[in-house]
């Protein structure tokens, strides 16, 4: 396990280095002055720019410039937003938690519904249930997320009035920013209207989370279905069956565990897809997350924000990827022995 962890850590470091290299080179590729692009100092005078240039090691070679950039990033200085002139790092601290909350809840929803449905489809292989589940998953996968978002707003917000259509929580409530994860912050706060706020935040979360969850859920259905079918055809299941175990015992004791392991392996991969969907959904639901912030920055040609946002968002995806790898390894001893990260 130690070697496995070291390998993952190694992979993580190299990926981060690649990502920062990409982000660093973006400042050259964007139009305009590279120093302004990387620092976001659009209103600085020539003297001020000279000082900033010094700190980014402008006189030195490209490699030393890159290391200067890296040291800025490591000290939490990602430059200023070109449009609002606030530090990017603060903006990210405000916006990233909302995205983490949305994507994690969506992931839980996708797994909670997708995996059991997939298992059922596999157990009832070639029956009407199987066909129905497959049809639903095909449909769900084919619906574009922006259309689904608008549709659920139309039905559940406007027609039925069950759920709000925008934002993370009603402006009525004032919740102190502690962790940034709103649901946790509400639990931590001592507001007399804490429970109303919690309910309200949950109501705001339902629609966007479901919209984000739909496509990944359909993938989990298929992954779970395939994994379960493989497991059910394996010899140890046949052996268990021959031993006289009931079907229920076989499924609960042996099949589910082994099928889960194979599904978990792909959760990390699906997470990247999920974050992309979340970015679009954040725009539709005015969710104050980093995806919406990043898309606004793209509209405003805020190059510093784009660089910082991309770096943070991809690191986030990668961290979740590695975490699921650890869970996979925890569940499946064979994986720990594999020599190369994948």
């Amino acid at each position: 396990m130690l070697i496995f962890s070291l390998r993952r850590l190694n992979l993580f470091l190299f990926t981060i280095i690649l990502l920062t290299l990409l982000s660093f080179s973006l400042s050259f590729l964007f139009p305009g002055n590279q120093l302004v692009n990387i620092s976001g100092q659009v209103n600085a005078t020539d003297e001020q720019l000279a000082i900033i240039g010094e700190s980014y090691n402008q006189g030195g070679s490209l490699i030393s410039q890159y290391f200067a950039y890296l040291s800025h990033i490591l000290s939490g200085d990602m430059g200023l937003s070109m449009s609002s002139q606030t530090p990017i790092f603060n903006e990210i601290l405000i916006h990233l938690p909302a995205t983490i909350e949305l994507t994690l809840v969506a992931l839980i929803i996708a797994m909670a519904f997708g995996i059991p449905l997939g298992f059922i489809a596999a157990i009832k292989h070639r029956s009407k249930v199987d066909d129905t589940v497959l049809t639903i998953s095909m449909l769900g996968y084919s619906i574009p997320v922006f259309w689904l978002g608008l549709l659920v707003i139309l039905i559940f917000s406007i027609q039925l009035g069950w759920f709000p259509s925008s934002g993370q929580i009603s402006l009525l409530f004032e919740i102190e920013h502690v962790t940034g994860l709103l649901l946790i912050d509400i639990m931590l706060s001592d507001d007399p209207f804490k429970w109303q706020a919690f309910q309200n935040a949950l109501a705001h979360l339902v629609l966007p989370a479901v919209v984000v969850a739909l496509a990944p859920a359909t993938i989990f259905i298929r992954l779970a279905r395939t994994a379960m079918m493989q497991v059910l055809e394996s010899h140890y299941i046949k052996a268990a069956s021959a031993k006289g175990l009931s079907f229920r015992q076989i499924i609960y004791r042996h099949a589910i565990r082994n099928a889960m392991v194979n599904v978990i392996r792909d959760v990390g991969l699906q997470f990247a897809n999920l974050v992309t969907l979340a970015m679009v959904t954040e725009v539709i639901f005015s969710w104050p997350g980093i995806g919406r912030w990043l898309i606004e920055s793209i509209y405003q040609r805020d190059f510093t924000a784009i660089q910082g946002g991309l770096l943070v968002l991809s690191s986030y995806i990668f961290i979740v990827h590695i975490l699921t790898d650890f869970i996979y390894a925890g569940l499946n001893p064979i994986a720990r022995g594999k020599k190369y990260g994948s």
């Binding site: 406007i158 925008s166 934002g167 402006l171 009525l172 429970w195 949950l202 004791r253 925890g330 569940l331």
Partner: protein, 544 residues
Amino acid sequence: MGVFLSIQEQTTVRTLFALLSFLSLYGCGYDENISLNNKSIVYCSEGVPEGFNPQTVTSGVTIDVTSNQLYNRLITYDKDETTIIPALAKSWHVTKDGKKVTFYLRRDVNFHQTNYFTPTRTLNSDDVIFSFERILNSEHPYYISAGGKFPFFQSVEFGKLINNIERINDYTVRFNLNQADSTILANLASDFAIILSKEYADTLAQYNFHTNIDSSPIGTGPFKLKSYRAGSYIKYVPHESYWGNKSTIEQLIFDITPNSYTRLTKLLAKECDIISYPIAHEKIDQRPDLTLDEKTSFNIGYLGFNTQKPPFNNKVVRKAIAHAINKQAILETVYFSQAENASTIIPKTSWAYDSTIQTPEYSIEQAKKLLAQAGFEGGFEMDLWAMPVQRPYNPDARTMAKLIQADLAKVNIKVNIIRDYEWSKFLGLLAEGRHQSVLLGWSADHPDPDNFFTPLLSCASALTGNNRTFWCNGEFDNILANALLINDIAQRKRYYKEALSILADEMPLIPIAHSKRYQARKKIVKGEILNAFGGIDFTNVSKN
């Protein structure tokens, strides 16, 4: 560990469901007792305010946010929007020569206590003097901190009007005027003439934070600022020691939503209690829980003629054009029927309105007949200047100009549309009288009808160029002057009727429309919010 995963998962799901149902039940019980939602108003507004002081702006967005919510004036308008009633001044007195106006202040007026300022005294004369001194004295540090920009006061030439403001005692102030002017009270009752705290200003001056007076507001109004996130929301809470009727709501929130589709969605999804400038009126009407409010604004969009230039120096030609223009089509196309057909420059809601006076009806024959009478059977060519900006009284002057172009083509008049100048240049050239005819408008600053007549059509404003028609009629001017000398409304109304009939006969401008202001709200929200002039007012709003 994985063997139990599915069971764990089931348990988790079960717990989650139990938790959710518990929460919803718990929440319901809570709702009935004290729900925050029932004590708060969320107003989804259309724009970001420039600041928190109406003295320094003219933009409607800022006035809406600030004037009636955060501040009070010395005097204000009653519900009927015509009578001036006491506010911070419990009474006032104007001397016979009209040159001295004395205000007697209330003694129980508290300023806001917020996390950035704690007042130690109630309102007194110093606050009143400070509030106007900063506008009048160009060396005042708070004049400088605002960049010398007080657009309303500069447009009514407040500086020329006021000689000085005298402190008689702690609760009495006197405005000494350079000449008598019956609009002084109307100006002091307008949304811009708010009273600030001198104590707060002095505190800020110690730390050299002068600009905070306009951005971190301290006033005497029914609400005070709790928090503001630029471009996102404004939160107000009631001023607990307000001198007037205290608001019954606990929070007033401006949810800044510039996109009109998003505003509509938020209303339909019950996220906003009230939205400004709604679209899709039919959709709102269909919903049993929503209602649409409308109010005709005190403004006028018009087509003005330069009466100094031929052929519009001939009133017969002006009348002919009035017959040739299809106003109904303009109302439908340019205003999307969100305006009232203007028969005179005075809107129906003003007491000076007179229904017996109408503009000429749409009739091509009549127009042709009049043109022939004036000697223009063959028509002529004219320039029509269309204002290059959007205003409530004219949301799309270019389209309006094109419609008029098409209408006048039917009576053989060829219209050239002039629209190449930017707004300030445009106004400058108009003041020089370079135009032949122009599409323009006027929004009243206060409901006194004189605010429509004198600035638009008097000889004095023809001299300054503010009267874009350069029409000057001695009889008309006399009537206006006489109307200003008396206070009896019935008598003034007779004068203004006379003035309106002179206008109908002379037709220096063709009134087109009085635009309406709309808002939509949930039916559970009670109380008047819209005013015919000036900003919205949440003082009497409640939820039941």
